[in-house]
């Protein structure tokens, strides 16, 4: 500390003020330099972001557990309130689903028979990693989440991330043990999609609201609220047929889609590597996917791609139905 009022004070005080001012200006300039650097989207920035996610992930991993138990309490209270209605709804849904299960069994059998007949080459198997959501980077400016799986588990940038209901986003930065998921609602997210019934192609563009927009929809496209939206598989980032959302509103200048996931209830996510090169321009990134050749490793489910979301990996593959019903459409009233 300089002595107050001494001759040293008179000399050093202006110098210190000048240094202070210089440091402030230097930091402001650094901010703008960072903005430019970040805009250039270099591999370096990506690595640093991955490392930052890695650094805090042990803490977030621990700290998010109590948060998850709070979640448990709120869901319990919520479900108690609507127990009766929920039960009725689920019974109804169960009846419908049993009918659909019958249809699916018949179709699976028929499909495998047809594949045998036409010597159909199975697409490469997909590789799944399940991960817990350890952070939700909410806010008005970005929509992303942090999950507890990284390159250690075979997670790489660009891979599709699914919730139980459907597509939730893609991996934006992959650290060693944790990664950041860019949600489909984020303003930087663009997903090639199609309308399920009309097969019209479009882009699902996030705009930081919870209802992303359908853009580049052709003028003669027929879209109505309630239509399901699936990935179209264009661009080679995701395979076709993954459910993404439901058209929620159609107006003159905007078609909005309600995503299938409920952000505050997402606890576990699946990162799926379909082995598609897609947005990964870097050839090295493709070579670093060893699990694609090794078939079924620990948690790899051997499902053909192109069928959308397969059953959860811990479930055994659907057994071949013992009897084959000749009507492929299936009878809705039938019970297995």
């Amino acid at each position: 500390m300089a002595q107050h009022g001494g001759p040293q004070q008179r000399i050093f005080s202006p110098i210190r003020t000048a240094l202070h001012r210089f440091a402030f200006i230097l930091l402001i300039v650094s901010c703008f330099a960072l903005m430019l650097l970040g805009k250039a989207d270099t591999v370096l920035i990506e690595r640093i972001r991955g490392a930052a996610v890695d650094l805090v992930s042990p803490f977030m991993n621990l700290a998010s557990r109590p948060a998850a138990s709070i979640d448990d309490v709120t869901t319990r209270i919520e479900s108690f309130a609507s127990l009766y209605e929920e039960n009725l709804r689920l019974r109804e849904q169960n009846r419908e689903l049993l009918a659909w299960q019958q249809v699916a069994r018949n179709l699976t059998y028929e499909n495998s028979r047809l594949r045998e007949l036409s010597h159909y080459a199975n697409p490469p198997s997909q590789h799944e990693v399940s991960a817990r959501v350890i952070a939700d980077m909410g806010g008005a400016f970005a929509h992303s989440m942090m999950i507890s799986a990284g390159t250690r588990d075979g997670v790489l940038k660009g891979q599709a991330v699914l919730s139980d209901e459907g597509l939730i986003g893609r991996i934006a930065d992959a650290g060693y043990q944790a990664s950041r998921v860019l949600l489909i609602t984020d303003i930087n997210s663009r997903i090639p999609v199609m309308i399920e019934n009309s097969r019209d192609r479009a882009f699902l563009s996030g705009d930081n609201t919870d209802r992303p927009l359908l853009t580049f929809l052709t003028a003669d496209a027929t879209v109505a609220p309630g239509d399901r939206v699936l990935t179209s598989g264009h661009g080679g980032a995701f395979p076709p047929g993954i459910p993404v959302g439901i058209v929620s509103s159609v107006s003159e200048n905007a078609v909005r889609v309600a995503p299938l996931f409920r952000r505050h209830q997402v606890e576990y996510l699946r990162v799926v590597n379909y082995g598609l090169a897609g947005i990964l321009k870097d050839p090295d990134a493709l070579h670093s996917m060893p699990h694609l050749d090794q078939g079924t490793s620990g948690h790899a489910a051997s499902l053909p791609t192109g069928v959308g979301v397969g059953p959860a990996s811990d479930e055994p593959a659907m057994p071949e139905p013992p009897t084959f019903s000749p009507s492929p459409s299936g009878t809705p009233g039938a019970r297995p």
Binding site: F24, S30, M60, A135, A140, M145, H264
Partner: protein, 171 residues
């Protein structure tokens, strides 16, 4: 009397408390809460702490610390780099210069001060984020987020007052 090694280490550890508290608030803000709609309008906990420490202990939360904390926030949340750094740096500099005004005044004065300082901070963040993403970001969550942030300030400030009185009284 010269302070011993442990004493000096203790002083150093205590002097990092303000910056560390901002970091902890950042992580708390990132936790996945399962409250519907909260994710869109999370309060800016870090901004409150940066303001609080800049007013009360500008010597412990310097411009450099504000810059680094902003950088960490941008890296972790996936925001465009440099925006939070700039906002924190400006908030730190303004609050530190005007800090004396709040001393020995009622808490409501500081609360008002925060609502006044955080308004341009939010707008600046919105402006730069929009410019760097190349599209106008929705304004409504920003307004709600600002209101929640302003409303929650006393709670966070109360905790920070406890920390300041408990750990930094003799520093």
């Amino acid at each position: 009397m010269k302070p011993g090694v442990w004493q000096r280490l203790d002083v150093i550890a205590r002097s990092t408390v303000p910056a560390f508290s901002v970091f902890v608030l950042l992580l708390i803000g990132l936790l996945p809460y399962s409250i519907p709609k909260l994710a869109d309008v999370t309060p800016a906990l870090t901004l409150m702490a940066v303001f609080y420490w800049s007013v009360n202990r500008p010597d412990l939360l310097t411009g450099l610390a504000a810059f680094m904390l902003g950088l960490i926030q941008d890296l972790l949340t996936g925001l465009p780099l440099g925006v939070s750094s700039l906002v924190f740096l400006l908030v730190q500099s303004v609050s530190a210069n005007q800090g004396r005004f709040f001393h020995n005044k009622a808490f409501t004065v500081m609360w008002w001060g925060f609502t006044i300082v955080s308004l341009p901070a939010f707008l600046l963040q919105w402006l730069f984020s929009s410019a760097l993403t190349g599209a106008l970001l929705p304004f409504q969550p920003l307004v709600i987020s600002y209101l929640i942030t302003a409303g929650m300030f006393p709670l966070v400030a109360w905790i920070l007052v406890r920390i300041q009185n408990g750990l930094l009284r003799n520093l």
